[in-house]
């Protein structure tokens, strides 16, 4: 059984909502990413989204763009990002890993090579924000064969597409909270509750919400309606704020502790 399914099944029994932090792999470097993942796990995260840095992240706002830029300046590659999952597992991390990547790095590796690699590197799920269902046929078949869940995004503008998208989905459904790119925001889409209930009615799979979820209040706001809550930019920004500490050997622990506290507060 896929680790994502196990996690959601266990949480459902306990009537709990999954906290799913996103971080940009390699910001500031791969070794620190693994240490941060450990903090996230200890603070109560249930699943980790590993963001692969990309030169042209058109679904992302300024915070994740900056993190991608920092990671790419050190020349990190998608192969190294995938390796982080295995290294984290070897270091004792138990959480499922979902790889979040734009399509071109996958396309350049070649789909066969890509699945051959992630199949043995502890990746349980895959989110590709610029690969809508119209374009994902070949990749979805290969993901299925590798027992890796291709997790789709659905948006408030998806309307009649919702059922078609969730019908093909595996793992969980990632609901986009509002029109726009990733990033902290004060308002969610005005029709958000109707949207979430439409998605809920279309599928038996767990549903998670993301884009702009940045505080404990937000997490609580959506805990009743959703099985999972993704927090991305708020954590990436926290990491950014903590960089001076993380990159100072003497104060590194302090920095990691601050990230852990932030996630603990989100978890409540």
């Amino acid at each position: 059984m896929n680790l994502i399914d196990q996690t959601f099944a266990a949480l459902r029994e306990q009537e709990k909502t999954a906290l799913i932090p996103f971080l940009t792999v390699g910001d500031p470097d791969a070794a620190t990413t693994i240490e941060i993942i450990r903090q996230l796990e200890e603070a109560g995260a249930d699943m980790i989204e590993l963001g692969v840095p990309y030169s042209d992240p058109l679904a992302d706002g300024p915070v994740i763009q900056r993190a991608s830029g920092r990671a790419l300046r050190h020349g990190i590659t998608i192969t190294e990002c995938i390796q982080v999952a295995e290294d984290a597992r070897k270091a004792g991390i138990k959480l499922p890993f979902v790889l979040f990547t734009y399509y071109n790095p996958v396309f350049q590796m070649g789909l066969e090579n890509f699945f051959e690699l992630i199949g043995r590197k502890e990746i349980s799920g895959l989110i590709i924000p610029d690969l809508p269902i119209e374009e994902d046929g070949e990749l979805r078949a290969m993901a299925e064969a590798a027992n890796i869940h291709l997790i789709p995004l659905v948006a408030p503008t998806s309307k009649e597409r919702i059922a078609r998208i969730t019908g093909l989905a595996r793992g969980f459904i990632y609901c986009v909270s509002s029109l726009g790119v990733t990033g902290v925001r004060s308002d969610f889409h005005s029709g958000i509750d109707t949207f979430l209930s439409d998605v809920r009615q279309s599928t038996e799979l767990p549903i998670a919400i993301g884009f702009g979820i940045s505080s404990r209040e937000h997490v609580e706001r959506f805990s009743k309606q959703c099985d999972g809550v993704v927090v991305g930019s708020a954590i990436v920004r926290k990491i950014e704020d903590t960089l001076p500490l993380l990159q100072d050997a003497g104060r590194r622990k302090e920095g990691l502790e601050q990230i852990r506290q932030f996630v603990k507060e989100l978890k409540g």
Partner: protein
């Protein structure tokens, strides 16, 4: 050649719609509106009226006699898109898309721009049709093309300088897409080239093919023959597709796209996407892309802001891989030389983009006989570049 694209926006393997889910319904809505109005006689009549009375079409096909004699080979004809209102071919597409936006009930339009020509054309069309207009432009380009920034402001548009990434056309496109994702319900995106997700490459081609339709008809009626060659500069590739498309079935006509080689294709500073790029997915479609081994898109370089782009429209990739068109690189230095030659022999100062097509013609024409003909797309005029050229040539 088969008719492309297919229903999924595919040109062979190229094209498609690689965008966030949030935009998918907007793309289908756009495709439906475009298909509907493309066949609507009233829409077409209004567009034809504006292209004629407002923009000044048809543009002349001018026999460049002194240039032809100077080069001593083929006879050269210039398709004078520079004589359009606002000074470039971009207005053909901007007028059409702004009209479409209005028919779709949108009140706000956005556009990306590199050299500023598409931004100016979109700001112009928006002013004419009473639409609110925002233009996204890389900060570096706002410096290279200050005059166009001011023109857009005069026309009532808001110019948004883009500070992310390379601060040129590539990131202006990213930022426009991001803005569109956030405002997709009331905003129409006037994309300026044959790039991006389906239906844009097809729609922009269909709005730009008037260049080639006119040129073909003019060659036949004025010279009694088809040209042997058609030459056009390619950044995203809209003027090139516009002039190539009506000639694609004419197998005797050779099509040459000219891309920017910047400081040379052997350096890292160029925009020679076809010569040096590989197949990849970038800004909504599968096409040739300048990228590293790991799929990260590389920054492009060209003296011409309009060609300074690491991608290219999917139909060009299709024409290249099928062998129907060939693509040649021209350096900054060669383009500057061509710009001066055309200025002195014909009294026409071309845009730096178009100067690349002239430079390729300078290489090609002397190798051909006097009975052979070349049609060159003179896509824009050089007024916008004069200040930058003065910087390069040191005031002469």
């Amino acid at each position: 050649m088969n008719q492309v694209p297919d229903d999924n926006g595919r040109y062979g393997k190229f094209g498609g719609r690689y965008v966030p889910e949030t935009l998918m319904n907007a793309l289908f809505e756009l495709e439906e509106a475009f298909d509907h109005y493309a066949k609507d006689p009233e829409f077409q009549a209004e567009l034809q009226y504006l292209l004629k009375q407002y923009s000044g079409r048809p543009t002349p096909l001018y026999y460049a006699e002194r240039l032809s004699k100077h080069l001593g080979g083929a006879q050269i004809y210039l398709k004078r898109e520079d004589l359009n209102h606002t000074g470039a071919h971009k207005i053909n597409n901007s007028l059409a898309q702004a009209l479409l936006a209005k028919r779709m009930g949108k009140t706000k339009v956005i556009a990306e721009t590199g050299a500023g020509q598409h931004g100016v054309a979109s700001a112009t069309a928006a002013a004419l049709l009473g639409l609110e207009c925002k233009v996204f432009m890389g900060e570096e380009d706002t410096k290279r093309q200050q005059l166009n920034v001011f023109r857009m402001k005069l026309l009532g548009a808001e110019v948004v300088p883009v500070l992310s990434g390379t601060r040129t056309l590539k990131d202006a496109c990213n930022e426009t897409l991001r803005y569109w994702v956030s405002n997709v319900t009331d905003t129409y995106y006037i994309l300026g080239s044959v790039t991006g997700p389906h239906p844009y490459p097809k729609m922009v081609r269909d709005f730009q093919r008037i260049i080639g339709d006119e040129a073909r008809e003019q060659m036949l009626s004025e010279q009694g023959q088809l040209p042997d060659y058609v030459v056009a500069a390619v950044g995203g590739g809209s003027n090139a597709i516009g002039i190539f498309y009506p000639f694609i079935q004419d197998e005797s006509v050779k099509l040459i796209g000219v891309e920017a080689a910047g400081k040379g294709v052997e350096t890292e500073e160029h925009a020679a996407t076809m010569t040096k790029g590989r197949h990849g997915v970038f800004q909504g479609s599968l096409s040739y892309v300048l990228q590293d081994d790991h799929g990260q898109v590389l920054p492009a370089h060209s003296i011409s802001a309009g060609l300074d782009y690491p991608g290219v429209g999917p139909e060009h990739s299709y024409l290249k891989d099928s062998g129907r068109a060939q693509y040649e690189p021209i350096t900054d230095a060669e383009a500057l030389e061509a710009l001066q030659l055309l200025s002195r022999t014909e009294g026409i100062i071309p845009a730096l983009e178009s100067a690349h097509a002239i430079a390729q013609t300078m290489k090609l024409a002397p190798s051909l006989g006097k009975d052979q003909t070349i049609v060159v797309s003179l896509s824009g005029r050089g007024d916008k570049d004069v200040e930058a050229i003065m910087g390069y040539l040191g005031g002469m």
